[in-house]
């Protein structure tokens, strides 16, 4: 069975589009890798695959091997050199699979009806030759339709075999933004999880506030607190609130190492200004290395992921 190399499978879901599923998936993957786990990312958003862009591997192509596809490696397991505030780190390998790696031209539209999408999702789950993985993160498109139905049908069938690791399908991380509009769609997704019997590992409230780089005041672009209220209503864990961090967008869009102006505030606590000046080698530095300097990692994801991993391991 192709998923037998995988210890835990975590889905990233949201009823609403553009709330940051792919961004959260990317950061979960980078953080897991920084904590030393080997990670795979599977992107089943067929009509709008963003994972290749997020990992900066848009030009990569999938290779064919006897028996299936070889996922695109992002980095191998290695030791990162120490940085200003972080010591040297042993990181786990990271690899990705997305339809984006198979398209001939990145602007081509994938105009597929349901059955074709169903078949592709199934093929992604059965024909990808993952290396040994501690975690497989699955990034999904918005909604509760063909891709989701096929994903769960296939996963539930495969993870319920006696040979599969216990609780291989660990559950789902549900992403929302704070506005009522997004929350009302994401509630549908929570009901979807309930109906299909997927455990909700927790809710993440993304885009919760933005720190103005000029006056350093935190503004709530899309209001605040909606995700937490929803988590309480549905009795699922709330993992945390993530502010919009322009340094993270710059890291993804331009590959620049996150840098914060002195005196940046977050919830009225002055953030420490580290000695992390950009250097020339940064051009070639790994994404995961640069991500270490991102506040989202230092202040949020490191903790969120530790919580998640402890939760998942307690059930294995």
């Amino acid at each position: 069975m192709p998923l037998e190399n995988i210890q835990n499978i975590v889905l990233v879901l949201s009823g609403k589009g553009g709330v940051g599923k792919s961004s959260i998936t990317t950061q979960l993957a980078l953080t897991l890798s920084l904590q030393g786990y080997s990670v795979g990312v599977l992107d089943i958003d067929l009509t709008g695959p963003s994972i290749p862009r997020f990992f900066g591997i848009e030009k990569a192509k999938v290779r064919q091997a006897p028996g299936g596809w070889i996922p695109v490696p992002v980095h191998d397991a290695q030791t990162l050199l120490p940085r200003a505030r972080s010591t040297s780190k042993d990181i786990g390998a990271l690899s990705c699979m997305s339809l984006g790696f198979i398209l001939a031209n990145r602007n081509d539209a994938v105009i597929w009806r349901g059955p074709k999408k169903t078949a592709m999702v199934r093929q992604f789950l059965t024909d990808v030759l993952w290396p040994k993985l501690d975690f497989l993160l699955i990034d999904t498109p918005p909604g509760t339709s063909d891709e989701h139905i096929s994903l769960l049908e296939t996963l539930l069938k495969q993870t319920n075999t006696p040979s599969a690791p216990r609780n291989q399908l660990a559950g789902a991380v549900v992403v929302t933004t704070p506005q009522a509009i997004a929350v009302s769609d994401v509630k549908k997704e929570l009901n979807f999880c309930k109906k299909t019997g997927i455990r909700v590992l927790g809710v993440v409230e993304n885009m919760s506030g933005f720190v103005c780089p000029k006056c350093a005041k935190c503004a709530n672009l899309f209001s605040k607190g909606g995700g937490e209220a929803m988590a309480i209503e549905f009795e699922v864990p709330f993992l945390g609130r993530l502010p919009i961090d322009p340094a993270f967008s710059a890291l993804i869009e331009e590959g620049t190492r996150p840098e914060y102006p002195k005196g940046t505030f977050d919830d009225d606590i002055e953030l420490e200004n580290e000695e992390n000046k950009r250097t020339i080698e940064d051009e070639k530095a790994l994404l995961v290395d640069k991500y270490r300097d991102c506040h989202l990692y230092q202040k949020q994801f490191n903790e969120i992921v530790k919580k998640l991993v402890a939760d998942i391991h307690s059930r294995n």
């Binding site: 609403k16 589009g17 553009g18 709330v19 792919s22 009509t47 709008g48 963003s50 862009r53 997020f54 064919q64 198979i102 001939a104 990145r106 602007n107 081509d108 539209a109 994938v110 105009i111 597929w112 009806r113 349901g114 059955p115 074709k116 999408k117 078949a119 093929q123 059965t126 498109p141 918005p142 909604g143 509760t144 339709s145 063909d146 989701h148 139905i149 506005q179 009522a180 509009i181 009302s184 769609d185 549908k188 997704e189 009901n191 109906k195 933005f210 103005c212 780089p213 000029k214 006056c215 005041k217 503004a219 672009l221 899309f222 209001s223 322009p246 967008s249 710059a250 869009e253 331009e254």
Partner: protein, 347 residues
């Protein structure tokens, strides 16, 4: 199970034949197989992949020829002057927000009648943004009555049909297509000046269905919505490719969430950085009209959450002015002469 070694070739990206007249989809006894030509296609029941499919006999014996409902749809929609699709490859860029603004904008002229149709089956947002979330559809002898938000602004969405507002609609494509068809065939829109069609993200069933069903009635064109980042533009390019292949005219592109004005110090931050030149550059490259930029204003989100019209609540804000300008440009692109916003001399 032996994994297939077949390379998923992208050489045949238009397995979907846009020009084929759709025939009525027959009732199937089993899910469609992988290479199903589509039960409503001309090759249904006779294609290579149909061999061995439990549905083969049903598909093959279904009446041939175009879907008899398409002329009905065309007749139903004949009295609608302008039909505008709002598209975006990416989710959460503000398609629904923009659709409501467009509808409110058109409806601000009391002499217009405007319809707004939500084809996002799995994540309908329009009813909440319009403040009519708890309404239900009334069925009359003539068909389904849309929910009227104001005298001259009617809305149709799957949300009105759900018994519980948080219920997930877990439907495969074929079922969604059926509902969209019903929306087009059974909803009594009567005479409309504008019908705005809001779509879900992506390029799949809903988009194909809307396109094929509306073909006879004629679509004025599509407005593409994007945010400034490359991640979003990437998906919008795919949507353009879709429009070209499907023969839908692109009315233009709107850049949403473009810059944020800090309420504290009025400093403009580019939250979503246009590292590749944003929508303006894309519009120039692709030679399509650029309809304008709408700044990110937290009050827009609040107005949507409360179901109010942002244009009425904050008529003097810069974002409002930007939106009105975009509405005017859209009206010009669809060939609407005159005063679309009903502002009298000032426009």
């Amino acid at each position: 199970m032996a994994p297939s070694l077949e390379e998923p070739t992208m050489e045949e990206p238009t397995q979907v034949d846009f020009d084929a007249p759709l025939k009525a989809a027959p009732k199937l006894v089993a899910p469609e197989p992988e290479h199903c030509p589509g039960p409503e296609s001309q090759a249904a029941g006779t294609a290579d992949s149909c061999a061995g499919c439990p549905n083969q006999a049903i598909c093959a014996s279904a009446p041939k020829g175009p879907d008899p409902d398409i002329p009905l749809i065309t007749a139903r929609l004949a009295s609608i002057k302008h039909k505008i699709l709002v598209l975006s490859g990416k989710g959460g860029v503000g398609k629904s927000t923009f659709s409501t603004m467009l509808a409110h904008g058109f409806a601000s002229n009391p002499s217009h009648t405007v319809g707004l149709m939500d084809t996002d089956i799995c994540g309908p947002s329009i009813p909440k943004m319009m403040g009519v979330e708890d309404e239900t559809i009334h069925v009359t002898a003539e068909g389904w009555e849309p929910v009227w938000v104001t005298e001259n602004l009617g809305v149709m969405s799957v949300q009105f049909m759900l018994p519980n507002r948080d219920d997930a609609v877990i439907w495969r494509g074929a079922k969604k297509n059926g509902l969209i068809k019903k929306f087009l065939m059974d909803v009594v829109w009567d005479e409309l000046d504008f019908l705005v069609v809001d779509t879900p993200p992506g390029t799949s069933d809903e988009h194909l269905s809307v396109n094929s069903y509306l073909k006879g009635a004629g679509v004025s064109g599509a407005v593409l919505v994007t945010t400034p980042q490359e991640v979003s533009l990437l998906d919008v390019r795919k949507e353009m490719d879709f429009c070209r292949k499907a023969g839908i005219r692109i009315l233009g592109i709107v850049e949403n969430m473009s810059g944020f004005v800090c309420p504290g110090c009025s400093h403009v931050s580019q939250i979503f950085k246009a590292s590749t030149g944003g929508a303006k550059r894309l519009a120039e490259e692709e030679k399509i009209p650029f309809l304008g930029k709408v700044p990110l204003d937290p009050r827009i989100g609040q107005a949507c959450d409360l179901g109010e019209s942002f244009l009425e609540a904050w008529p003097d804000s810069p974002a409002c002015e930007a939106i009105r300008e975009v509405v005017r440009r859209v009206a010009v692109e669809v060939g609407f002469g005159g005063d679309v916003l009903g502002e009298g001399e000032s426009s």
